[in-house]
Amino acid sequence: MKEELFVSGRNIPNIDPHLNIWHWQIPLYLFLGGLAAGLIFYAGLYTILNKEKEFPTAVKLASFIAPPALVIGLFMLFLDLKHKMYFWQLYTTFRIESPMSWGAWTLMAITPLSFIWSASYLKEVVPGWDWKNKWLDRFEAWVIAYRKQLAWVLVVLAIILGIYTGILLSAFNARPLWNTSILGFLFLTSGLSTGAATIMWMSKNHTERKVFGRIDFLLIVIELFFITHMLMGFQASTEVQIQAASLFLGGDFTVSFWVFVIVLGLVFPGVLEVLEIRGYRIPVAIPALCILIGGLIFRFIMVEAGQVTRYLY
């Protein structure tokens, strides 16, 4: 018999000492959600700025990736649920203090709107496309007429979605690694960066690629700043936060975090972007791929490492 379990009262499988409830579905969703948020943000932003012609990939082509990314991401969230058939109950209430509620409703709004946005550009992207239905034709004309208003709604929702992917973790206050308010902005920045990398990769337009290369470089710098700040914040905090940071500073996640996220996922593509800005020829797929893979691994590490950290020792 294991008497110590009775004495301590800590026989809580999958929660104590380490959380073991979130697996690959959650980081994959966080990545796809962040990517979709980034893509939708740029599509909306350049529409609001009246620059659809200068940035055709950002506004039109790349926006087609957002709806499938959101649908796959939502499916991942669904796969993660223990009681799958009760998912609809999230939509029977709205609780302003619950990040899950914010996320569920934001996704509920942004997913169909991103479909509508892409559909309104289908005729331009696929020449000869015909809806073969007068109601759909009328609806398309209506969406095109109100595109700017739709862009405003999408930009706001995309920012909420991007922040939410981080807040989902940081609201989990029982895990010191996640319980930091910088996570929302860090994940938003990372999502915008993966979105910019995708647009840069897809674009055939020289100016657009250049602009998105610069945007991406700036976001990489901001992301590195946030990560430094996060680690410094942990280091200056209580013992449990110091323990959490030590996972990345000599602990189990040191190699994967520094090699794949910091060096290959941020610094290396950052250097390549600088070289490109200075006029060197860089195949754009390489920095873009590094950023995308780095962003994905970052989320896997944050979800995995966060579950290992704890307050109770």
Partner: protein, 181 residues
């Protein structure tokens, strides 16, 4: 605006490759630094070996554990990929890419002698790589691991490996010269 560092002219060969003697000295210094920082030498075939071991262990774990060769690189605690050589080779790829970018010769192409086709070159290189991989495991290291790092630490096996690799190369280069010139 003038940038202080300009992209090199793609047609100017002089800027494209480093002087090989200077390259050799730099490689030696790199080796010295590697010993100083990591306490061990450079390697390349070890990373390939780790990748093969990890793949075999993933596909048929029973076979990997049964095999005398594979089982020595497998532990229950961590993946066979978690060795510094794997990360070193990732760094080599990234560094080579950067150096290619700085020299302005990043282009997807197959370099081969005018006498053969790109296909012949790829087949010959694959066969050569296969033999080198096999040989490196018999000899417990490749040019970097056994010859370079070994001779730098004054190991007799390192000098033997160096002489074996380059001596054989000289001896049979004439037979395969059509692949190069």
């Amino acid at each position: 605006m003038e940038y202080p560092m300009k992209a090199p002219n793609r047609n100017d060969r002089s800027t494209r490759y480093l002087n090989p003697y200077l390259g050799g000295v730099l490689l030696g210094l790199l080796l010295l630094m590697t010993y100083f920082i990591t306490g061990r030498g450079l390697g390349a075939s070890g990373a390939v070996k780790s990748t093969v071991v990890a793949t075999v262990n993933e596909i048929t774990p029973e076979y990997a554990h049964r095999s005398n060769y594979y089982s020595q690189f497998i532990s229950d605690d961590e993946s066979p990929l978690n060795t510094w050589l794997v990360f070193e080779v990732l760094g080599v790829l990234a560094g080579a890419f950067l150096s290619g970018a700085l020299a302005g010769r990043l282009k997807l192409k197959v370099e081969h002698s005018p006498g053969i086709t790109a296909g012949t070159r790829l087949v010959a290189a694959t066969l050569g790589g296969f033999l080198f991989g096999l040989g490196s495991q018999f000899g417990r290291g490749c040019t970097s691991g056994a010859a370079l790092s070994g001779s730098a630490s004054l190991a007799l096996s390192g000098f033997l490996a160096m002489m074996g690799i380059f001596g054989t190369g000289y001896a049979i280069a004439w037979i395969f010269r059509k692949l190069w010139v």
